[in-house]
Symmetry: C2
Subunit: 403 residues, 2 copies
């Protein structure tokens, strides 16, 4: 039965959901809502984002088990998946909560019932702060990170106005020089400023060393992460010595999970990419796996269809810049087609070429690509097809607008 | 009044809109629906995609006027904007219809009441073809491009089964070697194949020369486009000589608009980027404007906020890979901050640096960036803030899923 836009709009307006200007063109008339029944890799509309459930579930389990054995918690980062359904599975595996990089991500997670949501990015706008206060009010385990006196002032004002107590972590900059307060004395001074505001409560510190996450070679990576996290550990100790209850030290990455979990003072890991993996991570090498980082399986792929095979030396697939992020310059890798190379072909298409003598795919062939970098790739989609073998078991919404 | 997910879900299910699995986490609870009243560049949540209405309207008018004076039609490409509100304005300016690169784009356009929608990409899957047939049935001016015998067969079968007549353009490959049939005899043979299927009706040809669109230097670009479009013109003539009514020759780009409109045989332009412009187009130079391509104004920007200003040599903004596409490797350009350089800072942030001695922005400062490449940048957002001066006049949905 087809639904007219007018009836949907009326229902939405009646429910107070839509404002006058937000015409649901995408939702009502133009979307083909899909029932996963009968959907397989052979008929999913392409380009499509896929997650292999067997591999995904293994990754979730391996990380949870590692953290349990190491006596550490984990608060996985949703910036990688932006998907409440995935967050729920991470919580079910024993996560302390879920990290978010943006306010809409935090909103989507709290809306889905996730507790222990931690916003890891700085926010400096009253409107965004008000949205976070509303989340804390709704779910009191929601926390924010603060790395600057201005953030403290704005957050305190908003919390006081709303009559809401807010738990915070001090965001300690351990080398990225991108967000956060420098370690040691500056962090202590920020904590002391926070302590003056009675609606704000310090629970500990957080630190992310983006510069360490992809260091090639496990020994070099270990050295980098130990040095970086060491600053965070020292800062936490300084806070505790100075009378704070800095119970939490949250941080780390998929690339350093089995390094940070051995550092005394790190209480929880903020791992993100491990659920999916990508080319950018594979090349950094593992502790026991040599040149390829193989601790977690490549569960994430982009499925594309060959839409043109006119030429002898190349075929075109329906996955270009808008479907596969190639900002890192690594090439997407076709599964099951050794020697098939993906080349950029604009925003809508990709061009596949082959070693001379081998066979190109044919028109209508479907190919899965391991992606160069998972986070921005997931960001290109609004749903992910969760597959078991060749069958689509579920279709999960990738939540959250840009801001 | 807050709306529970359950009531929204019930309304949606009752309206037959949502399937059991498609939980509207994004729509119901986690979204802040914004009323444009009172919204200005000072308080739009960032990162945000903005279009300056004065510049945008000028661009729309300049192109329409140029085509009118040249005696050519124009069927602008929605792959650039994916926005029914923009498509409507292009139609109001005299467009013959709107081009779409994907089935969801075509669906969104037809849902918004756009006539003359032309799908320019090849589709080879029965499900996608069925969706297009449904669109043609709903709006008979909707057309498809065909560039391969398989597409013809599949389309014909579906059209026959649905009892729907479908108008098509032959997609002629004039050098990109990405989609379409080679010009001349191969195109004629494809047309003759199409003619055997009584539900399919040839209206003409279409051609896109991506390789010509960004040739630097107007004279070199003119040479490139004339040579490429010449093949399409010759193909159209061949079809007409052979008994077809190939009335339409649709093609061209923003970079070649004032070249293709002087080529006899080209009946309509498929210009896309002209409404927005970007760094990638600016550098190609214009006919009368020297090194900078200045025929159209840079109406599109990304608005970001400085969220960290701890260091003396850099500040961080809340716009990274997920907010500004840098695949072309051109740097986003800050408006009003000469000498301010945008550097990549990961997926969530950008790092701004400055010539020594100049002043960096402060925390909470807001900066608008001209984007490196407009099409994939628009693709990162689901709404665009249409501004008049500093005020937000409207918020337009950017429609259409990936597939």
């Amino acid at each position: 039965m087809s639904v007219t836009r007018r009836s949907f709009l009326a229902a939405g307006l009646g429910a107070g959901l839509l404002t006058r200007w937000e015409v649901p063109v995408t939702a009502a008339d133009s979307q083909v809502t899909l029932d996963p029944t009968g959907l397989t890799k052979a008929n999913i509309p392409t380009p499509a984002l896929l997650v292999d459930l067997d591999m995904f579930e293994s990754n979730v389990k391996v990380m949870a088990e590692h953290c349990r054995k190491s006596g550490r918690g984990f608060r996985p980062h949703a910036k990688t998946h932006k998907c409440p359904e995935i967050a729920k599975r991470q919580m079910a595996a024993g996560a302390l909560g879920i990290c978010a990089a943006t306010v809409p991500e935090a909103e989507a997670l709290v809306a889905a019932g996730i507790t222990g949501v931690l916003l890891t990015s700085p926010i400096v706008e009253p409107a965004k702060i008000a949205r976070m206060i509303a989340l804390v009010k709704r779910e009191t385990t929601t926390m924010l990170s603060v790395g600057d006196p201005l953030e403290v002032e704005l957050l305190s004002q908003a919390a006081a106005a709303a009559g809401v107590d807010v738990e915070v972590l001090v965001d300690v900059d351990i080398g990225d020089r991108r967000t956060g307060i420098p370690p040691g004395q500056p962090a202590l001074e920020l904590a002391q400023l926070i302590a003056k505001h009675k609606r704000l409560h310090i629970r500990g510190v957080q630190s992310y060393a983006g510069h360490a996450s992809h260091v090639v070679g496990w020994e070099a990576r270990e050295k980098s992460s130990r040095e970086a996290m060491g600053k965070s550990v020292a800062t936490r100790e300084l806070l505790n010595k100075s009378g704070f209850d800095a119970d939490i030290l949250s941080g780390g990455s998929t690339g350093t999970y089995n390094i940070d979990s051995t550092i005394d003072g790190v209480t929880e890991l903020q791992v993100g990419s491990y659920i999916f993996m990508d080319i950018d991570y594979r090349r950094i090498g593992g502790k026991a796996s040599g040149e390829n980082y193989a601790d977690f399986q490549h569960s994430l792929t982009v499925l594309a269809t060959v839409v043109n095979a006119t030429h002898a030396d190349r075929v075109s697939v329906d996955a270009g810049t808008k479907a596969i992020d190639t900002t890192t310059n690594w090439k997407p890798e076709a599964k099951g087609w050794p020697g098939l190379t993906y080349n950029r072909g604009g925003d809508e298409f990709g061009l596949l070429t082959l070693e001379p003598g081998a066979n190109l795919p044919k028109i209508r062939d479907r190919i899965e690509f391991i992606v160069p970098h998972c986070d921005p790739n997931v960001n290109l989609y609004d749903r992910i097809f969760a597959t078991r073998g060749d069958k689509v078991e579920a279709i999960w919404p990738i939540a959250a607008r840009r801001s």
